[in-house]
Symmetry: C2
Subunit: 358 residues, 2 copies
């Protein structure tokens, strides 16, 4: 068991704030995506991410990469956790995770060449932060041996929306760990079912740990053009122009799938969820004895496994099962839970119609 204090000196965190905010419509909007929702507590998911690092990573070691459109909001929330505005890296446009990770790694390496960095999406749910800190300790150990480390989650359902890693148990200096031998991005259902049955597959959570030197060597090897552009123009007048030239590519596809030194830590007990839909959120939150979860001024009668979120007015739900109700001042969603992925289609429809409700 690791104590938080041991991380402090060379450990850095990079919080990635992206997301367009379509899955949690009508609560999330284009200008107000998922990481800014208070889904699980009185804090936004972004704030929960910073809170999780409290006592583990020094505020001055926390970097945030976000789209320039969120600048004000991010800087304001970050200040609440003593993270300085100068640690907020502003992307002129979204380019997926690889450019963001390389940019942050270069910035950190310039400050501390011996740094180890943990990359955290800002819109995930982690129910057991103490276990997360333990898993992080294990990941930092592995990273110290020049591995690119992902937090792996044993699959609990044949999810087709996630990436999987195939692992093999190896030994390094007497310690067992999971070596990643293959990446599988969003498999078909039959494959996903197979992965659930076999015990050596994990979900790739999108949370990573590595030494900045290890990572930058691999980035230079597999994404030389991206690395070169960011290394030359990470500051200064050419930045915007350079950024526009970058491809949109994920760390997974661009680097991890090709690298030979990828490992995973088992993060089963951290209570992870990427809360990718209303259904996923409903499953992640605690419910009453009938499986209902209500927020706001809600009366239910003969309801089961029903998820009701209101705010400003009375909601009465009668005789519903596996239903999601989300009421906001200008839009209402009522949705069969298992069809909550379809919310994107509604948002696409509204976007085409140029409706202000998106």
């Amino acid at each position: 068991m690791k104590k938080p204090s041991r991380f402090n000196h060379h450990l850095y965190a990079v919080v990635l704030v992206g997301g367009s905010g379509t899955r949690f419509w009508p609560l999330s909007r284009w200008a107000h995506p998922k990481q800014f929702l208070k889904l699980t507590s009185s804090l936004t998911l972004f704030e929960e991410t910073l809170k999780r690092l409290n006592g583990v990573v020094r505020p001055s070691h926390i970097y945030i990469v976000t789209n320039v459109k969120h600048e004000r909001k991010i800087k304001q929330l970050a200040a609440g956790f003593h993270v300085s505005s100068s640690n907020v890296l502003l992307e002129p446009s979204g380019k997926n995770t690889a450019p963001a990770a390389i940019w942050a790694a270069l910035r950190i390496a310039a400050v501390d060449p011996h740094a180890t960095m943990v990359i955290l999406p800002s819109d995930h749910l982690i129910k057991h932060p103490a276990n997360f800190v333990k898993a992080l300790g294990n990941a930092v150990d592995l990273a110290g041996r020049d591995y690119l480390v992902t937090f792996g989650i044993p699959p609990t359902r044949p999810e087709t929306g996630y990436g999987y890693v195939k692992t093999a148990v190896r030994k390094d200096q007497g310690t067992k760990f999971f070596k990643v031998v293959r990446f599988i991005e969003k498999p078909v259902l039959a494959k996903a079912k197979q992965f659930c049955r076999e015990k050596n597959y994990l979900w790739n959570s999108g949370m990573f740990v590595w030494k900045v030197t290890t990572f930058l060597i691999e980035a230079q090897r597999y994404l030389p053009r991206v690395y070169g552009l960011l290394n030359r123009h990470a500051r200064g007048p050419g930045f915007r122009q350079m950024w526009a030239k970058l491809p949109s590519i994920s760390v997974d596809c661009g680097i991890l799938e090709k690298a030979h030194n990828v490992a995973a830590v088992d993060a089963q007990n951290i209570g992870w969820s990427d809360v990718g839909s209303w259904q996923a959120l409903a499953e992640a939150l605690s419910n009453d004895s009938l499986g209902n979860h209500c927020r706001g001024d809600v009366v239910t009668l003969n309801c089961a496994k029903t998820f009701v979120w209101g705010d400003h007015k009375l909601i009465a739900a009668i005789g519903l099962k596996d239903t999601v109700i989300i009421d906001t001042p200008d839009a209402l969603l009522v949705c069969a839970k298992e069809q909550s992925q379809q919310v994107r289609r509604i948002v696409a429809h509204l976007t085409r119609s140029q409706r202000r409700e998106v």
Copy 2:
């Protein structure tokens, strides 16, 4: 086939406006019950009732009995159909239909002893007004032969919320008609199913036709105290005190169940519904090819037999079946269609909690 003009001379109408407005919550409220809702057109159900009499009963022959709390609203709407304020009879409190019917009959008899009156609830839906006028003609004929006549509706489902009449075909002056041989108030399901199978049972619609003289004789016979009180104190200073002494009793229970001269006309083709619940309304209204009925700013996806009424904001419904959604500025109802009778329980709960949303 009867022509409307033939009714004009001695035909009077009594429109009953009662109802507490619990079944159509949250659209109906204590102060705004069902008859004031625009459920089926741009007119309220009350106005639709008056419109149905247009060209059939002279405006000066139309009486309205209502609770004093609705006075302003009723007089205002009635004026739109040239019904004078002096024809609006104001009840200090609700006493069910018998006192209202006797009071109106006494008032009409004083004006025209040869009058025939038709009693119409103000919150029913009649989809085919021309057929209603024909059925009314048949009922007026029967009433001319000293029958108390009800509009009977052949049951289409084993409804346990309605009264039934058992009928026998008789002949009078060469014309066949339905003699009512028994009343059955709100039967248990097994009985209701039996009534649906046997062909000689009709729903008692609550719409009646009789000569005022016939009716007042029967009222005097079966409800002598009610008749006596109303006959002596129908106007003047003792009225309020007298009204408080009246029992709350329906025409059906107080008079029709006991009388021997009750008949029914077959009103199958008038398109009647008492729209007693959201489910009944959903069935009475026209739907799209998937059985959905939407009003307001509504987007549906993979929905069937779903009834969505909004007004002021966007509503998205996904993957729902047999569901009712009613959105109002201060309250939202989402309800399984078959449980829409339970709305009363929600209203009762809100009333106990002294919530303003009732």
